[in-house]
């Protein structure tokens, strides 16, 4: 099998295709360079001795007539209609033994392409567990192909499959199944063939029992709430110690560089530009890894389909479907892993809408800004008997972000992403144990992908921001204290000049030039607002926020403070989010769009709040 086009893995959704692919290729992933597409199939390689083959994991599909963007991609590649991905010269057809009917239906269409194929028969342990028998010899006779039985999560049969990939003898053009004019006839053929090759004696009792609890009208909602609470807790707070360690590590490194390099521009570039920039990328890793571990486990074990079923009605109120819930919940911790996890949404329109509203969810980077302003300007009084006004305001800001996001989704689905999306339809896979190796491969793959694709953009943009705030250089005499030096440097820098230049734009919402610079600075990350404020007001933010809080309280009018809160609820103040949006949507058009619509929301809302509070 020598050719420069890859071999493709094709199969129905949930057939265990990705597990087989991951275990076979391991960490030998390649970054596919396929311009102009948003959902990239993973590309990997297997090698045996000196030979190596490139393999492509195409999105799962039920038939060669697409109903989603994912399926469309697979079909285009298989039919040689895709602009940048070559038609594969061989297909590994992954057939799910426990769901052989759907697999055979798809197979009968894929076989018509006349491309050499091999069949990987997965989930054979699932058939045995239900006292069933799958006749792989009969499948070989029927299709004229080599069949390799596999237990993907245990790795059984994979070595044979791998040898098969390299052996010319195991590749054959499939025997053409009868041609069908109607779906009904094809379904009947698949069903009759399935009955001939598979006999399962017992129902899947484990799945039945688990669903009796997990989909129970009360128990289902309760367990959904618990699972989502743990999920949210894990990305929100379990990640914090790791993030703190990373931040502490990088700021120590920054200090080390500042002290040990000859002082001047170069050390400043290395420390405040490069090290801080790289640190601002690495700091997202704990959340990305934890969120992806959760999403992959939930998806592989079969719960994600159930969660989508339970929450679909609620999401339907806003024109979305059940699967949008996970990315949006994740975005409450951080929009970056949230937007990445939107890949679980099969419908292109829903996925775009979800990604574009994800930054409206109140991410954890807004919290330092909220805390600073609220503690400085909202009196710590008790409302009723129990609730503190500060807590109510904070909760209000959180809820406001989420509700607005859903409302925006509703409008987007009625206008720009309007169209005949088919109603929610999902097949429930049986519950299964996820493969640890595959989990490890997928998660590390996503983490590396983030570092490579989004990370480089984020570091580059951080360097630009550093340049804007470090130039032009001012000369100081030693008599001026450090804090004051920083204050003057920032004020005179390009960033400071820009802040002053565009301050008139922000004047109607009550921002002076200092607040405007704070807003500009927080593009690196929202929480940078706090340190920029510290620098501008010459207050020390390192040990406690108290001094900065008092200074702000005395210098910023109350209405402006509320206006800042209102602005941060909506504004897309985050270069990293824009970087990941570019990565996931394939163009700068969408982050630009998100930035503009969120800016309009933020500005409008801040204007109203400012006008009322005055």
């Amino acid at each position: 099998m020598k050719s420069n086009s890859p071999i493709a893995f094709v199969g129905t959704p949930n057939c265990g295709k990705t597990t087989v692919f991951n275990v076979l290729t391991g960490m030998r992933k390649k970054v596919g360079n396929f311009p102009g597409i948003t959902i990239e199939p993973s590309l990997g390689s297997v090698s045996s001795g000196k030979e190596s083959i490139e393999i492509l994991d195409l999105p799962g599909l039920y038939s060669m007539l697409a109903t989603s963007f994912d399926e469309e991609l697979t079909i285009q590649v298989l039919k040689k209609e895709h602009v940048s991905i070559k038609q594969p010269h061989g297909i590994v057809f992954v057939m799910d033994a426990t769901n052989i009917e759907k697999s055979l239906y798809l197979y009968s269409q894929v076989a018509e392409l006349g491309i050499p194929m091999i069949i990987a028969l997965t989930m054979v342990d699932g058939v045995k567990a239900r006292s069933g028998v799958i006749d792989d010899i009969a499948i070989e006779r029927l299709t004229g192909l080599s069949v390799f039985p596999i237990v993907g999560h245990k790795g059984i049969g994979l070595e044979d499959l791998k040898q098969g990939l390299f052996n010319e003898q195991s590749w054959h053009i499939p025997i053409l199944p009868p041609s069908f004019d109607e779906i009904r006839d094809r379904v009947h053929w698949a069903k009759n063939t399935a009955d001939a090759v598979l006999s399962i004696k017992e129902p899947d009792t484990l799945t039945g029992r688990l669903d009796a609890i997990l989909l129970h009208p009360i128990g289902g909602i309760l367990s959904f709430a618990i699972i989502m609470a743990v999920f949210f807790q894990s990305i929100f707070s379990w990640a914090i110690p790791f993030m703190d360690m990373i931040e502490a590590g990088f700021s120590a490194l920054e200090q080390f560089a500042l002290q040990n390099l000859p002082s001047g521009l170069f050390s400043d570039l290395i420390a405040r530009g490069l090290i801080a920039g790289v640190g601002s990328v690495i700091v997202f890793l704990p959340q990305i890894i934890i969120l992806n571990v959760f999403v992959v486990i939930l998806e592989d074990c079969g719960y994600l389909a159930r969660a989508a079923f339970l929450i679909d009605r609620f999401m339907g109120l806003f024109g979305l479907q059940g699967r949008s819930f996970i990315p949006l919940l994740g975005s409450y911790a951080c929009a970056i892993p949230g937007i990445m996890s939107a890949r679980i949404i099969p419908s292109h329109r829903d996925r775009m809408t979800t990604m574009l509203i994800a930054p409206l969810m109140t991410c954890s980077a807004r919290l330092p800004v909220y805390t600073l302003i609220i503690s400085a300007f909202i009196p710590p009084m008790i409302v009723g008997t129990f609730f503190s006004l500060q807590a109510i305001v904070l909760a209000g800001l959180y809820i406001l972000g989420g509700l607005t996001g859903l409302f925006v989704a509703f409008i987007m689905k009625k206008s720009m992403f309007k169209g005949d999306v088919i109603p929610f339809l999902i097949e429930f896979p049986p519950y299964r144990l996820p493969s640890l190796k595959s989990l490890f491969v997928t998660v590390s793959d996503k983490a590396l992908d983030f570092l490579k694709s989004a990370g480089t953009v984020i570091v580059a943009l951080s360097l630009v921001l550093w340049f804007l705030s470090a130039f032009p250089r001012l000369e100081f005499t030693d008599s001026i204290p450090d804090i004051q030096q920083q204050q003057m440097q920032l004020e005179q820098s390009y960033a400071g000049q820009m802040g002053k230049a565009i301050a008139p734009i922000f004047e109607p919402i009550g921002f002076d030039w200092k607040l405007t610079i704070g807003v500009l600075g927080s593009f690196a990350a929202r929480e940078v607002f706090v340190s920029v404020m510290g620098q501008l007001y010459g207050a020390d933010t390192s040990d406690s926020d108290a001094s900065l809080r008092d200074t702000l309280q005395q210098t910023i009018p109350f209405a402006s403070a509320l206006s800042v809160l209102a602005f941060y609820v909506y504004a897309l103040q985050c270069i990293s989010t824009m970087g990941i949006l570019k990565r996931e949507t394939g163009s700068w058009k969408w982050p630009a769009f998100a930035f503009v619509y969120m800016f309009i929301l933020a500005y409008g809302f801040a204007y109203i709040v400012h006008a009322i509070a005055l």
Binding site: E101, D312, Q321
Partner: protein
């Protein structure tokens, strides 16, 4: 006199139509108003052609005997099982599913 009569006649037609619609709505068996655990035969699906095609491809065809397994809370999607398959879908306003109840 004539006009009143005609008016009354028209009203009668509309009343009649409404009554037949209401009876039809209440009596026709759809996935919305049958109890959980009902076994039924799918007679026809109308509406969104892509949705119908996908249901058919998944083996949910007219003539299929299925069980209504459950409904998601608050009028959410329904789950049905037939043969070895379990699917859930949203009984969207754009789709009408006609069934014949067996038991």
């Amino acid at each position: 006199m004539f006009s009143i009569c005609s008016h009354g006649f028209r009203t009668a037609i509309w009343k009649n139509r409404f009554a037949s619609w209401a009876i039809g709505y209440l009596m026709s068996e759809t996935l919305r108003n049958i109890p959980i655990g009902t076994i039924a035969i799918l007679t026809s699906i109308e509406g969104n052609p892509e949705f119908i095609r996908r249901l058919n491809e998944l083996g949910f065809l007219p003539g299929t005997k299925f069980t209504l397994l459950r409904r998601a809370p608050f009028g959410g999607p329904v789950e049905v099982s037939y043969g070895n398959t379990r699917i859930a879908f949203r009984p969207d306003a754009s789709v009408t599913i006609h069934i014949h109840v067996l038991s």
